[in-house]
Structure formats: C-alpha cells, structure tokens
C-alpha cells in the first residue's frame, strides 16, 4: 500500500460509512435521555428518569453483578489453563502441537448457537441444568481461543535467550517463568485478557441456554426485554454499556495500544 493520502472522494465515502457505523449508537443514547417512551425527531424533553429506573431495578443490578462475576471467573480460569498450555506448545514439549492448537481454537469457527443447544442437552442429560459452574466452564471454553492466540503470539515474540540466560544464571523453570518470561509476555497476554473479558461479558447465544431460572446476564436481560416489547429503560442500560465500552477502549489504547488487539 502506498502512503499517499487518500483522495477527497475516498475520504468522503469513509466519513459516510463511519456515520453509518455510529448512527444506531447515537440513536440509542438520544433515546435514553429523551422524555417520550418512543424516540421522536426532534427528541422531546430531557430526562434522567430512565437511568434512575435502571439503578432502582433489582433485575438489572443482579444482571450486572452476574455478568461481571461470570466474565471475571471464566477469564481467570481460562487464563490459568491457557498460559501453561501455550508454554508447552511453544516449547514443542508435546507432539502434534499444531493439531492441539487448532483443536483449542475450534470453538471459534463453530456456530455459537450450536454450542449453546449442545450444552443445553448435555446439562439436561447430566441433570445439572442452570448452575453457575456450567456457565463458568462454558465461558472459559468460549474465551480460550483468544487467550491461546495472544499467548502463543506473546511467547513467539520473546527472545528465547532471555529464558536461557535466567536458567544459566541458576533460576529454576518456575523462577525463570515468573521473573523473566511473565513480564515479557504480559502486555500481549493482557490484550487477550481484555478481549476475553469483553467476549464473556457480551456472550448471548450460548449463555441464553444455560442460565439458572430467574437469573440472566446483562445482555440476555436486554435481549429478553427487547423480545418482549421495548421499554425505554432498555435505552438507558444500553447507553451505560456504550459508555463502558468507550471508556474501556480508550483505556486499552492509552495503556497498551490497539495494535495488540488487532
């Protein structure tokens, strides 16, 4: 690709496409602050009432807590399992490492709804429908590919001489890992972690089949609310998610750089 700046026509097209990408986001935010139950043009009245409704709704609060807890526990579990696996795969300690890595990545190309219904039947057969543990295991499996990808990239980008030097200087494998290897792969792994947290928090097509009765994650709560007819507090809670996403992205860009994610 040349470094020549794009022509005016190209920039105009790009601006229109960005408008298309941001249009529904703007609409949701406007609806959240608007007084009428249905969004009108121009928006009528300014209110924070819908936000107050969200913060006083025990269902939404429980959903936020469940989503955060699930994302944190599942990502932690997946990380604890994925980092050692990446270490062994990187050092070629196991035969057929490529096949194993591909297997670990495979949940990514399976339609999520298929994994969801398969798990629904599975937990019904085992008689463990609607348990938090199943949700954690399922989410850990779903986010594993992101951690494997960034983990392997992190190990591959590391100078192997660093670990050898630590070993020659008398560190055992554990010390060498925690004192030398971990700090080097940290930023790469951090990007995978952020992606895993977002993926788990946002997951619907598997989660919807596994939720305990009467409980739901935040996206599933909104999904169900829309499915049953829109209530303006949906716009308010969606706006909160938009704000959280924006803050998170700016923080990632500031501290790690977007390049690590994409």
């Amino acid at each position: 690709m040349t470094d020549e700046p794009p022509s005016l026509a190209l920039r105009l097209i790009a601006a229109l496409l960005f408008a298309f990408l941001l249009l529904p986001v703007a609409v949701v935010v406007l609806a959240a602050f608007s007084d009428t139950a249905y969004l009108t043009i121009p928006p009528q009245g300014l209110t924070l009432r819908w936000f107050a409704k969200v913060f006083h709704d025990p269902d939404y609060l429980a959903a936020i807590v469940l989503s955060l807890k699930l994302a944190a526990v599942a990502t932690l579990l997946a990380t604890v399992l994925a980092v050692p696996a990446c270490y062994a795969l990187h050092h070629r300690w196991v035969p057929a490492g490529e096949t194993i890595a591909n297997l670990l990545m495979s949940p990514l190309i399976f339609p999520a709804v298929v994994i969801g219904v398969a798990l629904l039947q599975y937990v019904s057969l085992l008689g463990i429908r609607g348990s938090f543990a199943t949700l954690v295991l399922a989410h850990a499996m779903i986010v594993t590919p992101y951690l494997i990808r960034t983990g392997l990239a992190g190990f591959a980008g590391m100078d192997p001489a660093l670990e050898e030097a630590a070993r020659v200087l008398g560190a055992n494998r554990f010390m060498a890992f925690f004192l030398v290897v971990a700090p080097v792969i940290r930023s790469s792994l951090g990007a995978g972690l952020v992606f895993a947290l977002i993926t788990s928090f946002d997951e619907v097509p598997v989660t919807v089949f596994l939720l305990p009765p009467g409980q739901a994650t935040l996206p599933v709560t909104i999904f169900t609310a829309i499915d049953q007819g829109v209530d303006p507090s949906v716009a308010a809670v969606s706006t909160l998610m938009i704000a959280a996403t924006a803050i998170l992205l700016v923080a990632v860009e500031r501290f790690a750089g977007m390049r690590r994610l994409f």
């Binding site: 690709m1 249009l23 529904p24 043009i41 190309i109 339609p111 219904v117 996403t245 924006a246």
Partner: protein, 285 residues
C-alpha cells in the same frame, strides 16, 4: 530436563485445557449427534428408534427449505455489501498514519466491541414502523404508510452489515498493509493508470486476505442468532433462530439438532473449501 521429562511435563501443562474442551465442547456436540437421528412426538417427547427424517426434511419440507435458502441469501448479501463498503474504509485505514490511524482504528473497533444486543436495539429504533427513518420519511411526505424495514430480509441485511462491516474492515486493512510498498509505485512509474494499478496489481496481491475476510463474514452471518432474532422477530426465521426455537419453544430437539449439524457442516465446509482454494491460488502464483 530430559526429552521424556519434557514430554511428561508438556502433557501435564496441556491436559487441563484439553479436558475442559472435551468436557464442555467435544462431548456435548458428540452427544447431540444421536439425538439428531431420533424421532420427536408432540406430548411424548423423544421416542426410541432411529430415523434420518430430521435431515431429509431440511431439503423436502418447503418451510425449512425456505429458511435454508434465506440463510444462504443473507450470507451472500451481507458478505458482498461488507466487501464493497469495507474496501474504501480499509484503504483509508491502511494509508493513515500517526494520530489519524489511532483515531480511525478506534472508530472501527468501537462498534466492533459494542454489544450486539445494543447495536440491534439501535437498528430497531431506526427501522421499526414507528422508527426514526419512517418518521422522517412520513414527515417529509415521501411515504404515506410506514416502509416495512423490519421482520424481513432488509432488516436482517442492514443489522448484520452493521455488525460485520468492522470485522471486514479490520481484516482488509491488515491485508492491504501487508502488501509490498513499492509495487504500486512501480506500476505508477511505468505509466499505469491508478484504476488499472488497482485491478491489476493491488487486488490480485491482496486477494488471499480479501477472500479470508469474505469467508469469515459469511460464516459469522449464517451463524448469527441475536441480530436475526431481534430484527427478524419470532416469525422471520433463519437457520440459527430456527434452531433456537426448536430447542426453547417447540422442544423438538431432534429437528433442532439436525438443523444445528446442517448449519455447522455448511459453515465448516465453506471454511475448508476456502482454505483449499487459497492454497491453490497462492501455489499457482
């Protein structure tokens, strides 16, 4: 460490993750396979005995055939639109540098990371009968009755294009950035017109990346559940939402399982075929 010691340590490190994958991915999918050959009778549930009817009905039952065809049309349309719209955006993104590159990347990644439920909700506010677009069209006197843009193919295409355009742009921009810097300049120096350079130099070189982007967008479109459900409603079904309803509403798990395997096979076949074609293409040049 000795070679066999490394082998043993390696298995110990890899095994826990493999066990997790076996327990909550491989086993559930494998156990759904026999279900897809069972019969379901309303009121009785899943009965004993084997049948291939769940699979044959997908191509003989008019309704299921329509759902299958609709899913395919949706996948092709969304992929084509994402490619056409995504290309200029990817070119702008790939050529940007410094602060502009950071901001443009953020603008593409922001919708990408934003929850799909939230994004679909935004489109409902825009496309529904009382939505913003219809209000605007009626206020301007362009239409008298609201245009139907939801619960049909239009709504699904718009919603899924919005969901997958950033994916396409990210992949295309990566493919364009990986191009050797000098070839376009060389073509220009030799007097080739810009559009000719684009079609004869840029496009063939970026072809494997473009193809990979299209395959991913197609597979993600035919697998999508949330956007088709919210913008299509319970009546306008695609494969994924049909599977959802068989399992949660009609409780006909054998039919749902057969549909699930058909969808998976479809997606995996597209991925495998694409991989084969890409290897041929790269080898041929």
């Amino acid at each position: 460490m000795t070679r066999s010691g490394e082998r043993r340590a390696g298995w110990l490190l890899v095994a826990p993750l493999c066990l997790l994958l076996l327990a909550v991915f491989v086993a559930p999918v494998a156990l759904m396979l026999p279900t897809s050959f069972r019969t379901y009778q309303p009121g009785l549930g899943i009965t004993s005995g084997w049948t291939a009817h769940n699979y044959t009905q997908i191509v003989t039952d008019g309704y299921l055939l329509e759902v299958l065809g609709r899913t395919f049309v949706l996948g092709v349309s969304v992929t084509a639109i994402c490619l056409v719209l995504g290309f200029p955006l990817a070119v702008v993104l790939a050529r940007a540098s410094g602060a502009a590159r950071g901001i443009l990347t953020l603008l593409v990644v922001f919708p990408l990371t934003l929850n799909v439920v939230v994004r679909s909700f935004g489109w409902i506010s825009l496309l529904s009968n009382r939505g913003l677009i219809n209000q605007a069209l009626m206020a301007l006197g362009i239409v008298d009755v609201p245009l139907r843009m939801m619960f049909n193919l239009t709504g699904l295409i718009v919603g899924l294009t919005h969901v997958l355009l950033p994916v396409m742009v990210v992949l295309l921009a990566a493919a364009l950035r990986a191009l050797p810097r000098d070839v376009e300049a060389a073509a220009a120096t030799l007097g080739t017109r810009p559009w000719k350079t684009f079609f004869l130099v840029t496009l063939p070189l970026a072809a494997p990346g473009i193809f990979a982007g299209c395959v991913l967008v197609f597979v993600l479109t035919i697998s999508a559940l949330v956007t088709p459900r919210l913008l299509g409603g319970p009546a306008y079904k695609v494969m994924a939402t049909a599977i959802f309803d068989e399992f949660l509403s009609s409780l006909d798990w054998p039919t749902g399982a057969a549909l699930a395997f058909a969808l998976t096979l479809f997606a995996l076949a597209v991925v495998a075929l694409a991989g084969l074609l890409t290897r041929r293409w790269v080898a041929a040049r």
